[in-house]
């Protein structure tokens, strides 16, 4: 008899629940309330509290029963959210970096594996995501490809196949075809008519989010010390689970408050401004941010897929036909993507050099999650390039656990000495 995939995983899951997980002392998100309160007090802006409350409150709108719209989960930056908005659903990004969930995920995945994948697997198996209708997984890195198979018993999976060469000339037709298939799938599933006007309205919605994010990014680079790194990354982590219009409103309020604050007391921030690159930083993995904050630097900019890479590039629609809109979406998400799972290291290095030239950062710190090969290769190439250009660079390799905080602090302190 051939083995059935969903049965296989379900048995493993049930066995794990019965044997190990009963003993595991799982801190719930509400146990992190103490830490979060500390961040809230640390922040000079009142409007940032709204974002912290969303993060703390696991009973956020979408996870309550009876939430009107269907909720669609996805991974990575390569999925068109505009199609999901146009279909009347709420897109929720499921990438998480929670150490506890990673330990749960080790039941399914081997231990020596990307912690983000393990954490995602663990998260899906908990209660918080039972409201999600189906999950879209792109063929980004190896881990994500296998994640698509592992999650089959828990949720319905839609797999989006993308070629590895993210060259526009070769692959634009393939991307558009995949997105068109996805559009057909969603139309069938919810039995809705998605017109061109719906798609264009959805693009306007996400462009509003892009506009406010660009202003905040530029503001942070030029006026350090007002919106601190915790607020910034909490905001971007919140955008994973919030509706775009809802998020934009509150971000605009935060930006107005920050502008007022900066005009009153002109910035007297004396520390270093660092460009943080490499693997993404998602709540609650704020270890690196804690260390940098203690040492008095500000993270002036970043190139991470959870913040800059996700929200900076806009959709530029050239033709208003359906094929044209899908093509423009694929150009935003895939062609401009800096993810190292695709070919195109030169794109990434150009962006870093351009950011340093524009905003004059003091140094670059490359944060690599352990056991991610592609990010490590990218980081080593970046090291060679920046060494030639004589820009200070530090490569740190860390995990989700908090054990190596002391070591990190020593290394970064030494690095900051060089910056002088």
């Amino acid at each position: 008899m051939p083995i059935r995939k969903d049965q296989l995983m379900k048995e493993v899951y049930l066995k794990a629940i019965r044997t190990n997980l009963m003993h595991l002392d799982m801190p719930r998100i509400s146990d992190m309330a103490e830490e979060v309160k500390k961040y809230m007090e640390h922040s000079p802006l009142k409007n940032s509290h709204f974002f912290y409350e969303i993060i703390l409150n696991s009973n956020h709108r979408h996870s309550k029963k009876g939430f009107k719209k269907p909720v669609v989960g996805y991974f990575c930056n390569l999925i068109p959210e505009e199609i999901i908005y146009a279909a009347g659903c709420l897109p929720v990004r499921l990438c998480s970096q929670n150490d506890t969930y990673a330990k749960i995920g080790e039941e399914f995945f081997p231990a020596d594996m990307c912690p983000v994948i393990k954490s995602a697997c663990g998260a899906i198996s908990t209660r918080h995501y039972e409201n999600i209708d189906f999950v879209i997984v792109p063929a980004a890195c190896d881990g994500k490809t296998k994640l698509a198979e592992m999650l089959v018993p828990f949720k319905e999976i839609y797999f989006l196949d993308l070629p590895k060469d993210s060259d526009y000339l070769k692959s634009a037709g393939i991307w558009t075809g995949e997105y068109a298939k996805f559009l057909g799938f969603i139309k069938n599933r919810y039995d809705r008519r998605i017109t061109r006007k719906d798609l264009i309205d959805a693009c306007t919605l996400t462009n509003r989010r892009t506009n406010i994010f660009r202003e905040i990014y530029e503001f942070r680079a030029l006026h350090p010390g007002i919106i601190n790194a915790f607020d910034y990354f909490t905001m971007t982590s919140t955008s994973f689970i919030s509706d775009a219009g809802f998020w934009s409103e509150h971000s605009e309020k935060l930006y107005d408050e920050a502008k007022k604050l900066s005009s009153h007391n002109h910035s007297d921030f004396k520390g270093k401004r660092i460009l943080l690159s490499g693997s993404s930083i998602i709540f609650p993995n704020y270890k690196v941010l804690d260390v940098l904050d203690e040492l008095g630097c500000d993270i002036g900019g970043d190139t991470q897929c959870s913040a800059y890479g996700r929200l900076y590039d806009p959709v530029e629609i050239d033709e208003e036909t359906e094929e044209g809109i899908l093509r423009a979406l694929s150009l935003k998400y895939v062609a401009a993507s800096m993810c190292p799972c695709f070919l195109g290291i030169d794109k990434f290095i150009d962006r870093i050099l351009d950011l340093i030239e524009t905003y004059k950062f003091d140094g670059v710190i490359y944060n690599n999650l352990r056991l991610c090969q592609v990010f490590e290769i990218q980081g080593s190439l970046l090291k060679h390039v920046l060494r030639e250009k004589e820009i200070p660079f530090l490569f740190i390799k860390t995990d989700l656990g908090k054990e190596d905080t002391g070591q990190l602090k020593t290394r970064i302190e030494a690095f900051l000495e060089i910056l002088k």
């Binding site: 993210s166 526009y168 050239d318 033709e319 359906e322 062609a335």
Partner: protein, 349 residues
């Protein structure tokens, strides 16, 4: 739909030039009676001398009244000097011409002394040197009518067809062939012993040009759709229909595929590489999204592929500046005039 700042200006310019070219004769009140009387008194009205077709050089053919294609033997050539104006189509409106291909092929037939043609050619070269192929993107009425067809396609939700480099090369070679055969035929029928062919083969490209069939409709005049009186004119009628078909297909599915084939564009494109208007890219700021190549109506991808700072001027580029308009990276692409920056790309909210 977001309105982009340069494209709006360009659309307005296209509409204005279309109206001016087709109805401009009314504006300048130049009609055939005035010009005829001027010529018969041999008073040159302009600084440039008035060209005249020598008498007796056209053999007696059957000329229909009001037929725009067959001017009478002493129809003077009243030149308005912006080069490459599409030739007159509205006989009621009179003389507002002339297309550069019409200019060259007509004067090859009349065998005008080259000293009378030099002012026209020098003005043409001056404008092409300063502005490159901007005529094609901003002024040309064939392009304006074609862009209207493209708008119709977008409203009907038909996707655009992107053609390969092979097709572009084939069309480009065809345009050279078209131009070569036009000039050869025009010159041939001007040779003394062969003037008897003039009534059939006069202005060979003009007889098949799609604008000849479309522009008179603006003046509510019906163009000469078919002429089956002789074998040669039958051939030209069929070629004219074919050319209209190619025009419609090229503008409806490809966005500006016709511009690869057009001989007027060919003559303008020789100066594109050294022209004053240039497109420049700062390669460090590029995020390789490919929007510039996507937006290009000619389907060029040099802007996308360039990976060092280049001044870019392909001979096919019609200077529509859509790439600079759509680029979301600030100051990545820019339009320069002899080195001075005029417009740079900027993210518009």
């Amino acid at each position: 739909m977001r309105f982009r700042r340069i494209s709006i200006v360009r659309r307005i310019a296209q509409v204005i030039f279309l109206i001016l070219i087709i109805y401009g004769g009314y504006l300048f009140k130049a009609n055939i009676e005035t010009v005829k009387s001027d010529v018969s008194q041999a008073k040159p009205k302009t600084f440039f001398p008035v060209l005249k077709a020598p008498k007796g050089s056209l053999s007696a053919g059957q000329f229909k009244k009001g037929d725009i294609l067959w001017p009478s033997g002493d129809t003077p050539v009243f030149e308005n000097f912006p080069p490459s104006l599409i030739c007159r189509f509205n006989p009621k409106g009179g003389m507002f011409k002339a297309c550069i291909v019409h200019l060259v092929s007509e004067n090859l037939t009349w065998r005008t002394n080259i000293k009378y043609l030099l002012p026209h050619i020098s003005l043409f070269i001056l404008l092409c040197f300063l502005l490159g192929r901007m005529w094609c993107g901003w002024v040309c009425p064939i392009g304006s009518m074609g862009d209207f067809l493209s708008w119709v396609r977008r409203k009907m939700d038909v996707p655009v067809k992107r053609f390969s480099a092979l097709m572009h090369n084939i069309l480009r070679s065809s345009s050279y062939g078209l131009m070569a055969s036009t000039f050869f035929i025009s010159g041939f029928i001007g040779i003394p012993n062969f003037t008897r062919f003039q009534c059939y083969w006069f202005l060979p490209y003009c007889q098949v040009c799609p604008a000849r069939l479309l522009c008179p409709l603006f003046g509510f005049i019906s163009p000469t759709w078919k002429d089956f009186s002789t074998a040669v004119s039958t051939m030209f009628s069929i070629l004219a229909w074919l050319s209209l078909g190619v025009f419609i297909v090229a503008f409806y599915w490809g966005r500006r595929l016709w511009c690869y084939l057009c001989p007027i564009g060919l003559m303008n494109s020789w100066f594109n590489k050294g022209a004053g208007l240039e497109l420049k890219k700062v390669a460090l700021k590029c995020n390789k999204c490919g929007s510039c190549s996507d937006a290009c109506p000619m389907g060029l991808s040099e802007m996308y592929e360039a990976d060092k700072d280049t001044i870019y001027n392909n001979e096919y580029c019609i200077m529509c500046i859509r790439c600079v308009d759509i680029c979301p990276r600030d100051n990545c692409l820019s339009v320069n005039f002899f080195g001075k920056r005029i417009i740079a790309s900027k993210y518009q909210k």
